[in-house]
């Protein structure tokens, strides 16, 4: 739950791609008493306002309930490509006009795409909020792109793929592991797209996707900052509220069949310096599978991987001294099958096999002996105390609500998070561990450096 940034970055399955140079990791719904105000426009668009009057600024976000896992077969990357194309202008505002309006008030903007959602945002002085809403509402339905936009922007996403994946053996390997984790569910396809499919994405693909999914009833407006719902709602009605309602099709995703066989992937690269180990188990989350395990699994992740005193780091890194890093992650937010993962890498000159064996031993001990109520109480105290930090800031709370509402949670779910976490018992944690840590639903990945003699000289 409150994983360090480094570990969050490893929790890639549901991480998002952003238009600009900064990747945005979706943070778990770590919240306590944000006390948001909500409304729904006549056309079905949901509105959430989180007031924070420290500075006269707002974060204005629109989240769409559509992402990479909703792409048509053979069109991988189209959700993210469309996100880029939304910056190419509308019938009312040519390319650059919206961005210039943001720059004129000293604001910042970006967008990001995940498997389950796509979001666009601006951070601006509160006085510019109405203008932002006007432009954002305009591009929800009036996108104006043609063939001349496609070529250069497709090259941009291909360069993005090279930067994020192709130039990086660890990322290439994660892509292979991700594909092996799901037999059928669309999370198996890379969010940025397979290169050969990205190269063929065209104008029609983008417009079809846009026409299908971009409409008020599939969107959530989140405004956080120095405003109240009384300020925001009239503006929302004037802008987003003017867009006619249109039914949006249901998300039809392939159903993951029973997984019956353990999978193991190994890759060797001459551009990898240190071996690394990963293990992923298919896991339920807030919205998929046996959802009652979602809260206990967050506590389990804290017991196993809560900083330097979590079971894994303490045992493998501090006591046994066989690993340089070791930990676990869990991501409950997906619309589809989530994952519970382990990772580790050896000390200099150490053996990756010993790291794997030690992590296996920790999992075996956990399954045999369980966690204690004392461990659970300690983990609950840690994560609920830290939830107060989530209220410090403007964009963080906005993201928490956008993510929750776009993936099937409610405002009440977010607000109830501390209470639900506090009720978790050791019995529930142990039941969740037994349900999830099954080898036939697991993927093990080993990334190894090539022997020194094979290395290129530079």
């Amino acid at each position: 739950m409150f994983q360090s940034l480094k570990r969050l970055a490893l929790a890639l399955p549901l991480a998002a791609l952003s238009l600009g140079a900064v990747a945005v990791a979706a943070s778990p719904a770590a919240a306590q008493l944000f006390d948001p105000e909500t409304a729904t426009l006549d056309n079905g668009m949901e509105v959430v306002v989180i007031t924070n009057d420290r500075l006269p600024v707002v974060t204005h976000m629109v989240w769409y309930r559509v992402g990479g896992a909703d792409e048509p077969r053979g069109k991988s990357g189209i959700a993210h490509f469309l996100e880029h194309l939304l910056f190419k202008g509308t019938t009312n505002a040519p390319e650059g006009e919206f961005s210039d309006a943001i720059r004129r008030v000293g604001g910042s903007e970006n967008a990001f795409t995940s498997y389950d959602y796509t979001a666009y945002f601006q951070n601006v002085p509160v006085s510019a909020l109405e203008e932002m809403m006007r432009y954002e509402a305009d591009r929800m339905v009036n996108l104006d792109i043609d063939e001349s936009d496609i070529g250069p922007e497709r090259d941009v996403i291909l360069e993005e793929r090279r930067s994020r994946v192709d130039n990086n053996p660890a990322a290439l390997f994660r892509e292979q592991v991700q594909a092996a984790t799901y037999l059928h569910y669309p999370y198996r396809i890379p969010l940025i797209g397979w290169k050969h499919e990205m190269e063929r994405l065209g104008l029609r693909d983008a417009l079809d996707f846009y026409d299908r999914w971009y409409t008020p009833s599939n969107a959530i407006l989140v405004v956080a900052g120095d405003v109240t719902l009384a300020d925001v709602l009239p503006l929302a009605e004037k802008t987003y509220g003017q867009i006619p309602a249109r039914a949006v099709p249901p998300r039809e995703r392939s159903v993951e069949p029973p997984q019956l066989a353990e999978r193991r992937l190994e890759m060797t690269s001459d551009q990898v310096a240190q071996p690394s180990f990963s293990r992923r188990y298919l896991a339920p989350g807030y919205n998929w599978g046996d959802t009652e395990h979602a809260y206990p699994l967050q506590i389990l992740a804290e017991v196993l991987s809560g900083g330097a005193t979590g079971r894994l780091y303490r045992s493998l890194v501090v006591e046994q001294k066989i690993a340089a890093s070791a930990g676990a992650w869990y991501s409950p937010d997906g619309v589809g099958p989530s994952g519970f993962g382990f990772y580790g890498s050896p000390r200099p000159g150490g053996d990756i096999g010993a790291v794997e064996a030690a992590i296996d031993a920790e999992i075996a001990t956990l399954l045999a002996d369980g966690v204690t109520q004392e461990e659970v109480d300690r983990a609950i105290a840690r994560v609920t105390a830290a939830a107060v930090y989530a209220r410090d800031g403007v964009s963080g709370p906005a993201r928490i609500f956008g993510l929750a509402l776009a993936t099937g949670q409610t405002v009440e779910d977010v607000e109830a998070w501390p209470a639900r976490i506090a009720e978790v018992t050791a019995e529930q944690v142990n039941a969740a561990a037994r349900a999830v840590f099954r080898q036939d639903q697991s993927v093990t990945g080993i990334l190894r450096p090539a022997p020194v003699t094979d290395r290129q000289e530079g």
Binding site: G20, A21, R54, L55, P56, V57, G96, S99, D100, R103, R104, V105, G106, G107, S108, E109, N123, V124, P125, P152, E153, R154, D155, V156, L158, E159, R162, S163, D166, N167, N168, Q271, V272, A273, Q274, G306, G307, A308, T309, R314, V318, K321, A324, S325, S345, R347, P348, R378, R382, A385, A386, V388, Y389, D392, G393, V394, S395, G396, Q456, G458
Partner: protein, 446 residues
């Protein structure tokens, strides 16, 4: 304690638009901090810095300040590493130290209800770290692995070479996180020597934000920082100009996309024309709408990201940028960057570009102050850089004062096409190396 002698100077009235009210708090023991009181959330954020960072690492012991930063919170006083870390985690106290090139800094965040413990743990880490063998060797092993990885990752490898090229004879050219050989050479005595020489009251600057009153803070300041020595050792390093002769070096690497760093000398933060240069960099490579973003990314799809920025060290100024393009087309990106550099030097920006960039430079600063930690960090930076007690009030005006005339004059000196020095890693087509590749720190260690 029955008496608290402290005085508080309120030197900033609330800004008309930006209600950040800074109080100067002076402790009975003479330690000064800037405070922004905010009782809306039960959180206290503390940020502080000392002068002297990785450039104080002795030759052959590069990475000393970084190793220190990573081990100070691994046990202190009577608490060993697990006890110390466990207490931080149980109380949700976020404590971290970090080594920059010119500074050694720390941050601490705590819930108000745990403030007693939080400030005490901070005091212990700052004044009584244990440096037990287990955590020191564990952290060293982690850094050794990171040093190996840095030699495999294209961007970090290129960065190491690029900085060595800019500063062949100054510690600015050394890797802040050390090399395998230099990390292995650092002893606990070296760590303690850094603390004794650098972590002193004379260069300490403190910013605090959140749920704490000036009186409470005054007491805390003496508790936490009172035990530090009064004065630090002289830094003893002179100003240095980066060596950017113009030209290209290429590091051959079998990857599909070439990574590129480019740049030359820039200006320092204390230059009266700093904001003129900041606005010009924004126009050239500041993000959406900038010249390079338009020409390289939007029009031609040559890169996902292309950017420029000022990198003002204390003793040297740099003006740098980066791009990453498919090997086959990277020469196009380089040609565009060079031609934009020439064009800007010759003609300067337009009034329209200037106006937009000034808004960006103004607004970007305020938008970054969205949480307690970033405000506390800014309070430290203002003090450290001696930007003045009214900086928050004055900053917009300083940016506003960048006229087209000043910008055009500065463009002629800031953009130096003949000195544009470019480092490439990859298998770039049609790129001719004209410079030798600088030594790559740590590469020869095997």
């Amino acid at each position: 304690m029955t008496r608290i002698i402290a005085f508080f100077a309120l030197f900033l009235t609330a800004l008309p638009a930006w209600a950040i009210e800074i109080q100067e708090v002076k402790s009975p023991g003479g330690i000064t901090a800037w405070l922004v009181e905010d009782h809306s959330n039960p959180i206290v954020a503390v940020s502080f810095s000392f002068l002297g960072g990785s450039t104080s690492d002795p030759a052959g012991k590069e990475g000393r300040a970084s190793l220190l930063a990573a081990t100070m919170d691994e046990g202190a006083g009577d608490l060993d590493s697990q006890a110390f870390q466990g207490k931080l985690e149980d109380l949700a106290i976020r404590l971290s130290f970090s080594a920059g090139r010119d500074t050694f800094s720390g941050t601490m965040r705590t819930l108000t209800r745990n403030a007693d413990d939080a400030f005490d743990l901070l005091r212990l880490a700052l004044t009584e770290p244990r440096f037990d063998a287990e955590p020191v060797e564990r952290i060293r092993d982690k850094m050794l692995i990171d040093a190996s990885r840095a030699l495999e990752r294209p961007r970090s490898l290129l960065g190491g070479a690029f900085y060595k090229g800019l500063f062949p004879n100054d510690p600015y050219g050394n890797p802040a996180d050390g090399t395998r050989a230099s990390l292995a050479a650092i002893t606990v005595d070296d760590l303690r020597a850094f603390m004794a020489e650098r972590l002193a009251k004379d260069t300490l600057r403190i910013g605090v934000v959140g749920d704490i009153t000036p009186k409470q803070l005054a007491t805390r300041l003496d508790t936490v920082f009172g035990g530090l020595p009064e004065t630090s050792a002289p830094l003893g390093l002179p100003e240095v100009l980066a060596e950017a002769p113009g030209g290209i070096f290429v590091i051959d690497r079998d990857i599909p996309q070439s990574n590129v760093f480019f740049g030359h000398r820039g200006i320092k933060r204390d230059d009266p024309d700093y904001f003129v240069a900041a606005v010009l960099s924004e126009i050239m490579g500041g993000g959406f709408g900038s010249r390079l973003n338009e020409e390289v990314r939007e029009k031609r799809g040559l890169a996902y990201g292309v950017y420029t920025y000022l990198n003002p060290f204390d003793r040297s100024g740099l003006f740098l940028g980066g791009v990453a393009t498919d090997n086959a087309r990277v020469s196009e990106s380089l040609a565009i960057i060079k031609s934009e550099w020439e064009k800007m030097a010759a003609e300067g920006p337009t009034q329209e570009e200037l106006d937009l960039a000034k808004s960006q430079v103004k607004g970007g600063f305020w938008l970054r102050l969205e949480n307690s930690g970033s405000i506390a960090g800014t309070l430290v930076a203002i003090q450290r850089l001696d930007l003045g007690k009214n900086y928050l009030e004055n900053r917009d005006g300083l940016v506003e004062a960048v006229t087209l005339e000043r910008a055009k004059a500065m463009a002629k000196t800031l953009f130096q096409p003949e000195n544009l020095t470019i480092g490439v890693i990859g298998k770039p087509a049609n790129v001719e190396a004209t410079l030798p590749t600088p030594p790559i720190p740590g590469r020869e260690e095997g």
